[in-house]
C-alpha cells in the first residue's frame, strides 16, 4: 500500500470518477441521499419544462443543465473519494495471488489452492512461500516480509507461542520454515476485509452520519413545503411562479452542499486512516476515536523504550567510581540482556572503559538465574582456584552473598537502594568478594517527545492512563516523568477490564492500545481498541482497529482524523445553511419583481435581471460543491486549541463565511453570465 496519499486530482482516479458520477444517477442509488434525490427530481422536472410552451426556453434549459450539474458534481465527489480507496484495493489485490498452499494432513504434505483451506488446517511455509491465509504459527520461527500489507520493507519475526505468532495471508516468508494453523474462514481473511473496506463495499453510515442525514432530510422536507405552499400564496398575490423557478428556489434552499459531500467526507476519512497504515474495521470506530477522552496506554514500548537502562554508578564510601564501573562492566560483559548491555555502554561512555575481550584467560561467567537473582564473573588464577569474584544483582541477593563471603554491607548502600527504589528506578548492587563496591541505577527511559504528545492530548481534552506491571512506586515515578495524567500499577487483565468499565460508566469514551492475548478482553471492551499488527490474532480480533506499523502513539493520528471527519461535516452543514441567506436575497426579489416592482430595494446585490439572479444562484450552488471537494476529501484542519476557540474559529470561517461568500459569488457569476449574454 502506498504511504503517500494520492494527489487530490490524480487523472487515474478522476477519469473513472467522471464515468461513475453519471452511473450514480440511477434513482435507486440516489434515493439513499434525500437531498440529492430531491435535486435530481427537480432537475428532471425542469428538463421537461423546457418543452412546455413558454417564452424563456433558453433560460429554463440553462437552469436544467446547472441543476443536473449539481447532482453530477455531488456524485463526482463521492466517486473520487471511492476511487482513492479503489486504487489502494488494487494494490492489495495483487498481494492476494492465487497461492498454492502446502497443507499438512497426518504429517503428509499435499498441494491445495489457498481458497480451499478450512479453518483449523495446518500448512507449511518455507522461505520464499507466500502465506496462504491468516493463521497462528504453531511450530518454528521465521522472518516474514509484510510489506504487502504494511508497506514496511523491514522483515518481522514470527514464532510459535507468545505474542508474535500471528501471520497474515498474502505476506511472504523470507527465511526458515514454519507451520501455521489457519484461523480464518475462506473469504474473511484480513486482506479480504481490508479490500472490501477500502472499496467502500461494506461501508455503512456511521451513527453521526445517520443523525446528520435525518437533519438534512427534514430540512429538505421543510423547504419542499415552503416552495409548494409558495404557489398558492403566489396565486393569491397574482404572482405567477413557474415550476422551474420554484425548483430553482428549492434546490438553492435545501442543503445541497453538505448533502452532496456528506458521503465523500466519510469515505475520505476512512481513506486517511488507511494512509496512516491503520486498518479500521468500521467508520463507526473512526468516528468514536474522535470522541475518545480517556486513553489507556501500555507503558512498555509506548511510553518507555521498553527496557531499563543503566543511568548512573553510585559507589560505596571509599570506593572510586572508576573501580565500580570497571567491576560492573566486567560482570556484564557476557550479559546479553538489554540491562547488561546498557551497563557496558554506560561504563564506556562515562569512564571511557572499553569493552574488554570476553575471553580473558580463566574467566568464567556466571549467568543470571531466577534462583540466585544475580550474575557475574569469576576469574581463576589458572590453577583451578578462584582469584577474583564479581557479582551484580538484586540488593538482598548480593547482601546475602557478601555475608556468605564473610563481608558486610555498608548502611549507605542500603540507603542508596531505598532511594533508587523510591524514584522508580531499579538498583543493582555490585560486589567483589567480601566488598560491596556500590550501586548501578537502572531506570526506564521515557521516549523522547512523548511528554509533548501527552500535553498535546491534554489540549485535545484526552486524559492518558499508563498501564504497567511495575510496582506503584516505579509506576508513579515514570508517570510523573512522562507526564501522563494517571497510571495503573501491577495491572492484571481483569483490572484493565474493570478500569475500562469504570471509566465508561462514568461517561467516558475509552481508547486502548494493546498487543498481547491478555489485552484482548480490554481491547474488546474499549470503545476504540487499537491492536498492534505484531500482536496476537486474539488481540487483532478483539480490537476494532489494527495498526499495521505497530506504533502505539498512532492513536493520536486516528483521534485527529475522527475529529476532522466530524468537524468537516459540521463546517459544511453550517456553511450550507448559512448560504441560504444570500440565496434568498437573490431569488425572492427576482421572483416577485414582475408583480411588485416596489420591492426592488430587496435586490441588495443589484443583480442584473430576475433570470440572471436565479441562474446565478443555481450556478453558485452547483459550483460550490466542486469547490469544496478538496476540503471534503482532506478534511478541515484540527488544532487542539480548546473547544471554545475551535468553535469560534469555525463559526467565523464557515458560519460568517457561509453568509458572506455566496453574496460575492452570486454577484460575480451574475456579472459573468450577463457579460456573456447568457440571459
Amino acid at each position: 500500500m502506498t504511504q503517500k496519499p494520492p494527489s487530490l486530482f490524480d487523472w487515474n482516479i478522476v477519469g473513472p470518477a467522471i464515468v461513475d458520477a453519471f452511473k450514480k444517477l440511477d434513482p435507486r442509488l440516489m434515493v439513499k441521499n434525500p437531498v440529492m434525490f430531491v435535486t435530481q427530481v427537480g432537475a428532471a422536472l425542469t428538463t421537461i419544462a423546457i418543452w412546455a410552451p413558454s417564452g424563456e426556453r433558453g433560460f429554463i434549459a440553462q437552469l436544467a443543465v446547472w441543476l443536473w450539474f449539481t447532482v453530477i458534481f455531488a456524485n463526482f465527489a463521492e466517486a473520487v473519494a471511492e476511487g482513492r480507496g479503489k486504487a489502494q484495493a488494487n494494490t492489495l489485490r495483487k498481494a492476494r495471488k492465487d497461492t498454492i498452499a502446502r497443507r499438512l494432513r497426518k504429517n503428509v504434505e499435499e498441494q491445495v489452492p489457498a481458497p480451499e483451506l478450512q479453518k483449523g488446517d495446518l500448512v507449511v511455509c518455507e522461505a520464499g512461500d507466500i502465506i496462504p491465509a491468516d493463521g497462528d504459527v504453531v511450530e518454528g520461527i521465521a522472518s516474514v516480509d509484510e510489506s504487502a500489507i504494511t508497506g514496511e520493507s523491514a522483515p518481522v519475526i514470527r514464532e510459535s507461542g507468545g505474542d508474535r505468532c500471528a501471520v497474515t495471508g498474502g505476506t511472504r516468508v523470507l527465511s526458515d520454515r514454519i507451520v501455521i494453523r489457519i484461523t480464518m474462514e475462506k473469504g474473511q481473511g484480513f486482506l479480504d476485509r481490508m479490500i472490501s473496506l477500502v472499496e467502500g463495499a461494506q461501508r455503512q453510515k456511521t451513527p453521526n452520519e445517520i443523525a446528520l442525514t435525518i437533519l438534512l432530510a427534514a430540512l429538505t422536507f421543510i423547504f419542499l413545503l415552503v416552495c409548494v405552499t409558495l404557489k398558492p400564496f403566489g396565486i393569491y398575490s397574482n404572482a405567477v411562479f413557474s415550476v422551474p423557478v420554484l425548483v430553482a428556489l428549492l434546490v438553492c434552499l435545501i442543503p445541497t452542499t453538505i448533502g452532496g459531500l456528506l458521503s465523500a467526507i466519510g469515505i475520505a476519512g476512512m481513506d486517511r486512516v488507511l494512509q496512516r497504515n491503520v486498518m479500521a474495521m468500521s467508520g463507526r470506530a473512526v468516528e468514536a476515536a474522535g470522541d475518545v477522552d480517556v486513553l489507556l496506554l501500555d507503558k512498555t514500548g509506548t511510553i518507555t523504550l521498553g527496557n531499563r537502562m543503566a543511568t548512573a554508578f553510585l559507589p560505596a564510601p571509599n570506593v572510586k567510581t572508576e573501580r565500580l564501573a570497571d567491576a560492573a562492566q566486567l560482570a556484564s560483559l557476557a550479559d546479553e540482556t538489554p540491562e547488561g548491555r546498557s551497563i557496558v555502554v554506560l561504563a564506556k561512555e562515562k569512564h571511557n572503559l572499553r569493552g574488554r575481550e570476553v575471553a580473558e584467560p580463566h574467566a568464567k561467567f556466571v549467568p543470571f538465574s531466577a534462583q540466585t537473582r544475580m550474575s557475574g564473573v569469576d576469574f581463576g588464577d589458572g590453577n583451578g582456584s578462584v582469584k577474583r569474584q564479581i557479582r551484580k544483582g538484586a540488593a538482598d541477593a548480593i547482601v546475602q552473598w557478601v555475608a556468605e563471603q564473610g563481608g558486610q554491607s555498608d548502611k549507605a548502600i542500603l540507603k542508596g537502594v531505598d532511594e533508587i527504589s523510591r524514584t522508580g528506578g531499579t538498583p543493582l548492587v555490585v560486589a567483589e568478594g567480601r566488598e560491596v563496591l556500590g550501586l548501578v541505577h537502572l531506570k526506564d527511559i521515557v521516549k523522547g517527545g512523548i511528554k509533548e504528545r501527552f500535553a498535546h492530548l491534554r489540549k485535545m481534552g484526552i486524559r492518558t492512563v499508563m498501564i504497567t506491571g511495575d510496582n506503584p512506586l516505579t509506576a508513579a515515578a515514570i508517570a510523573a516523568e512522562a507526564g501522563v495524567d494517571d497510571f495503573m500499577a501491577q495491572a492484571t487483565p481483569e483490572q484493565k477490564l474493570k478500569r475500562i468499565r469504570d471509566e465508561q460508566s462514568a461517561g467516558h469514551l475509552v481508547a486502548m492500545t494493546g498487543d498481547g492475548t491478555n489485552d484482548a478482553p480490554a481491547l474488546a471492551q474499549a470503545d476504540v481498541g487499537v491492536a498492534m499488527n505484531t500482536g496476537t490474532q486474539a488481540a487483532r480480533e478483539a480490537g476494532n482497529m489494527v495498526d499495521l506499523d505497530s506504533n502505539p502513539t498512532k492513536l493520536l493520528d486516528i483521534v485527529e482524523i475522527g475529529k476532522q471527519m466530524l468537524i468537516t461535516r459540521g463546517a459544511l452543514t453550517t456553511f450550507s445553511i448559512a448560504n441560504d441567506v444570500a440565496k434568498y436575497f437573490a431569488i425572492i426579489p427576482a421572483m416577485l419583481m414582475a408583480t411588485f416592482p416596489a420591492i426592488a430595494p430587496l435586490n441588495i446585490m443589484h443583480l442584473h435581471s430576475p433570470t440572471s439572479a436565479i441562474l446565478s444562484a443555481v450556478i453558485f450552488n452547483a459550483l460550490i460543491i466542486v469547490a469544496l471537494i478538496p476540503l471534503a476529501l482532506r478534511g478541515v484542519k484540527y488544532t487542539p486549541i480548546g473547544a471554545l476557540r475551535t468553535l469560534q474559529r469555525n463559526l467565523l470561517i464557515y458560519g460568517l463565511g457561509g453568509v458572506i461568500v455566496p453574496f460575492i459569488g452570486i454577484k460575480v457569476i451574475d456579472m459573468i453570465i450577463t457579460g456573456m449574454h447568457l440571459v
Binding site: 451513527p207 415552503v226 400564496f233 434552499l253 477522552d293 467516558h508 475529529k563 480548546g642
Partner: protein
C-alpha cells in the same frame, strides 16, 4: 423614539432581571415533588386531597410515555368539559345577560383554543360568554393549560439533567403543584393589585349609561332574520340611528386578567382586551401585565441552569432571549414611531408616529413593547390593534410567533421550544469542535435530532399548509376585510397565532365562520399537542443517557459564542422557512406603503 421610551425599556429589563432568580428559586421548590414552600400549611392538605381524589400515587414517577399519555388524557377531558359548558351555557347559572348557547364550531374552536393555551377568540367575550362560562369553562384553562406547559418544560429539563434515568416526573403531581403553589398564590396577589389600579371584579349585570352627547350613526338596515336589506343595486340599505346610551361591561375581570397574563393565555375578558380601560386601567397595570407575561418564562431559564448545575447556561439562554426580544422591540417601536408616510404626506399624521389602532393612553412605545412581548411569549393579549401596525411594525409580532415563540415564550412552551433550538444548535455546531455533539454531557444522536426536527416540521406544516389553503379557498377569502398583501398577512397571522398558541390576531379577518373556527381549532391542537409529543419523547431519550463529564474538548453551552450561535440557529433554521410567505405579506406591504399604497 422618545427618551421616555428608552427609560421605560431599561426599567422593564432591570425589573425582569431582578425577578428571574427569585422566580427560578421558587420554581425549584414547586417543581420538586418534595419541595417545601411557604404555602405548605394551607395548601399541603389540599394537594394531598387532590391526589387521593384522582387516585394518583404521588411518590411514583412516570416514564415519558406515561407522562405524555396522562397529559393528553387530561387535556382531552378538559377540552370536552369546556365544550360541554359552552354548548349548555343557556341553561347554566350566572348568566344575567341571558346569552344563548355557543354554536358548535365556535364552541369547538374556543375549547381547543383555551385547552391549548392559545386563547384565540373568534367571539367578543362580553356578548357571547356568560359569567359562568368565563369563570369555569375558560378561567380553569387559564390555570391548567399554563400548568401543563410548565410541566412539559420541567419534564424536559429533568430529562436533560438526569443521568441514566427512566422517568421524567409525574404529570399529575406537576399539574397539581404548579397550579396550587405557583399560579394560585401569584394570581391572588396580582388580582388584588389590579383591583387596586381600578380593575373591576363583580357579578353585576352590564350597566346602561346615558350618553352626555348622543350622536347619530348610519348602519345597514337588517330584516327579521338579521340579514342586511339590499337595494336594487345590491348595496345595503343604510338607515340613521341615534346613539344615546352606552352598555358598560361588568363581571369578574381582575381574577381572570391576572391569570391571563401570568399564564400567557391572553384571552381577553372583553374583546378590546388589554386596551380596554377596565382591563388595563393605568400605566402601572400595563407595566405589571407586561412583566407578568415574561415572569415565569424568565424564571424557567434560571430553573434550567440550576437543574443542570450550570447556571451560566441558564443565563446564556436567557441572554439569547433578551437580545431577540430587544431587537424585535426596537424594530417594532422604530417602525411605529416612523409612522405612515402617506399620512405624513397628507399632513394628518400624529406627531409621534402611527397612532392608528393604538390607545392614546399607551402611545407608540407601550403599544410596540406590548405587541413584541405578547408575541415573544405566546400570550396574545393586546393593548393595541396589530392589524393597524405599519408593514414592518406588524412584521415583528408575526415573525416572533413564527420563530416558535421561544423568546421567553409561553409559560413552559417558550423554554421547551428554545431547547429544541438549543439541541439543533448543539448538534450542528457541536460537530465543529470535533466530537459527537454533546449537550451538557449528553450525546445528541439521531433520535434527538429526529424529534427536534419533527417539532419544527409540525410548526412549519401547520402554519404554511393551513395558510396556503386559506389564501386560495373561498372559505378563507370570505373572511377577508382587506385585500392585497395585508390580507395575506391577516390569514398568515391567524394560522401562525393558532399554531403558535398565541391567540392574538390581525383583527381585520373575520374568523368566526365554521371553516375558520374548525381549521383554526385543528391548527391550535396540532400546534400544541403534536408538538409536545416529540418534545417529551426527546426528554425521555435524554433522561436515559449517561452524562459524560465535562473536559477540555467539551462543547461550551454558555457564554457569548453560544448566544450568537443560538440566535443564528433560531433565525436560520426557525425563520427561513417563513421568509417567502412573509415577503409576500408584510415585507411587500412595507415597500408598497413607501410608494404610497395602502390596503
Amino acid at each position: 423614539m422618545q427618551t421616555s421610551g428608552w427609560i421605560q425599556l431599561a426599567v422593564y429589563v432591570v425589573v425582569l432581571v431582578a425577578i428571574t432568580k427569585p422566580m427560578g428559586l421558587y420554581l425549584m421548590r414547586v417543581l420538586d415533588a418534595n419541595g417545601k414552600t411557604w404555602f405548605d400549611p394551607i395548601l399541603k392538605p389540599l394537594e394531598q386531597l387532590s391526589y387521593r381524589l384522582m387516585g394518583v400515587d404521588a411518590g411514583k414517577e412516570q416514564d415519558w410515555k406515561q407522562y405524555t399519555f396522562a397529559m393528553l388524557l387530561f387535556s382531552a377531558v378538559s377540552l370536552l368539559f369546556t365544550y360541554a359548558i359552552l354548548r349548555l351555557q343557556n341553561i347554566l347559572p350566572l348568566n344575567p345577560q341571558g346569552l344563548g348557547a355557543v354554536s358548535r364550531d365556535l364552541a369547538f374552536n374556543t375549547a381547543a383554543s383555551f385547552t391549548s393555551n392559545t386563547n384565540w377568540q373568534s367571539y367578543s367575550g362580553e356578548t357571547t360568554m356568560s359569567y359562568f362560562s368565563q369563570m369555569v369553562a375558560l378561567v380553569i384553562h387559564n390555570f391548567v393549560s399554563a400548568a401543563v406547559g410548565i410541566a412539559i418544560a420541567a419534564a424536559l429539563v429533568r430529562g436533560i439533567a438526569r443521568n441514566s434515568a427512566k422517568t421524567i416526573g409525574n404529570f399529575w403531581v406537576d399539574l397539581v403543584r404548579i397550579t396550587y403553589y405557583l399560579l394560585l398564590p401569584i394570581c391572588v396577589v396580582f388580582a388584588v393589585f389590579l383591583v387596586s389600579q381600578g380593575m373591576i371584579d363583580n357579578f353585576k349585570p352590564y350597566t346602561h349609561a346615558k350618553l352626555v352627547e348622543p350622536y347619530k350613526i348610519s348602519v345597514a338596515k337588517t330584516d327579521d332574520k338579521g340579514q342586511p336589506v339590499l337595494d336594487k343595486d345590491g348595496k345595503p340599505v343604510m338607515e340613521e340611528q341615534t346613539v344615546d346610551e352606552q352598555l358598560i361591561v361588568q363581571g369578574p375581570m381582575a381574577s381572570q386578567v391576572a391569570m391571563k397574563m401570568l399564564g400567557t393565555n391572553g384571552g381577553g375578558y372583553v374583546n378590546a382586551n388589554a386596551s380596554h380601560p377596565f382591563e388595563n386601567p393605568t400605566p402601572l397595570s400595563n407595566f405589571f401585565q407586561m412583566l407578568s407575561i415574561f415572569s415565569i418564562g424568565s424564571g424557567l431559564t434560571w430553573y434550567l441552569g440550576r437543574m443542570v448545575n450550570n447556571q451560566k447556561h441558564g443565563w446564556t439562554v436567557w441572554a439569547t432571549m433578551l437580545i431577540l426580544f430587544l431587537a424585535g422591540t426596537l424594530l417594532c417601536w422604530h417602525s411605529e414611531a416612523a409612522g405612515n408616510p402617506i399620512h405624513q404626506k397628507l399632513g394628518v399624521a400624529a406627531a409621534d408616529g402611527n397612532m392608528e389602532g393604538k390607545e392614546v393612553r399607551f402611545g407608540i412605545f407601550n403599544s410596540a413593547l406590548f405587541a413584541t412581548i405578547t408575541t415573544d411569549a405566546s400570550c396574545g393579549a393586546v393593548n393595541s390593534m396589530h392589524d393597524s401596525f405599519t408593514g414592518l411594525g406588524g412584521f415583528v409580532p408575526l415573525f416572533n410567533i413564527q420563530l416558535g415563540e421561544v423568546i421567553f415564550g409561553g409559560v413552559g412552551a417558550g423554554l421547551y421550544g428554545m431547547l429544541v433550538f438549543v439541541v439543533l444548535a448543539v448538534f450542528i455546531a457541536g460537530l465543529m469542535v470535533g466530537r459527537t455533539p454533546e449537550y451538557l454531557g449528553k450525546k445528541i444522536e439521531s433520535y434527538e435530532v429526529k424529534m427536534a426536527m419533527l417539532a419544527l416540521l409540525i410548526l412549519a406544516i401547520d402554519i404554511l399548509a393551513f395558510s396556503a389553503w386559506a389564501v386560495v379557498s373561498k372559505w378563507g377569502l370570505a373572511g377577508l376585510n382587506n385585500s392585497g398583501p395585508h390580507g395575506l398577512s391577516e390569514m398568515l397571522y391567524a394560522y401562525s397565532s393558532g399554531t403558535g398558541n398565541n391567540g392574538s390576531a390581525f383583527a381585520g379577518l373575520n374568523a368566526n365562520t365554521p371553516w375558520y373556527n374548525t381549521t383554526l381549532g385543528i391548527a391550535m391542537l396540532i400546534g400544541r399537542f403534536l408538538m409536545i409529543v416529540p418534545i417529551l419523547a426527546m426528554a425521555g431519550a435524554l433522561a436515559r443517557k449517561k452524562v459524560a463529564p465535562a473536559g477540555a474538548g467539551t462543547f461550551p453551552v454558555s457564554g457569548g459564542t453560544f448566544v450568537i450561535l443560538l440566535i443564528g440557529t433560531v433565525l436560520l433554521i426557525g425563520a427561513l422557512n417563513f421568509l417567502p410567505a412573509l415577503t409576500l405579506g408584510p415585507i411587500v406591504e412595507h415597500f408598497l406603503t413607501l410608494q404610497g399604497k395602502l390596503f
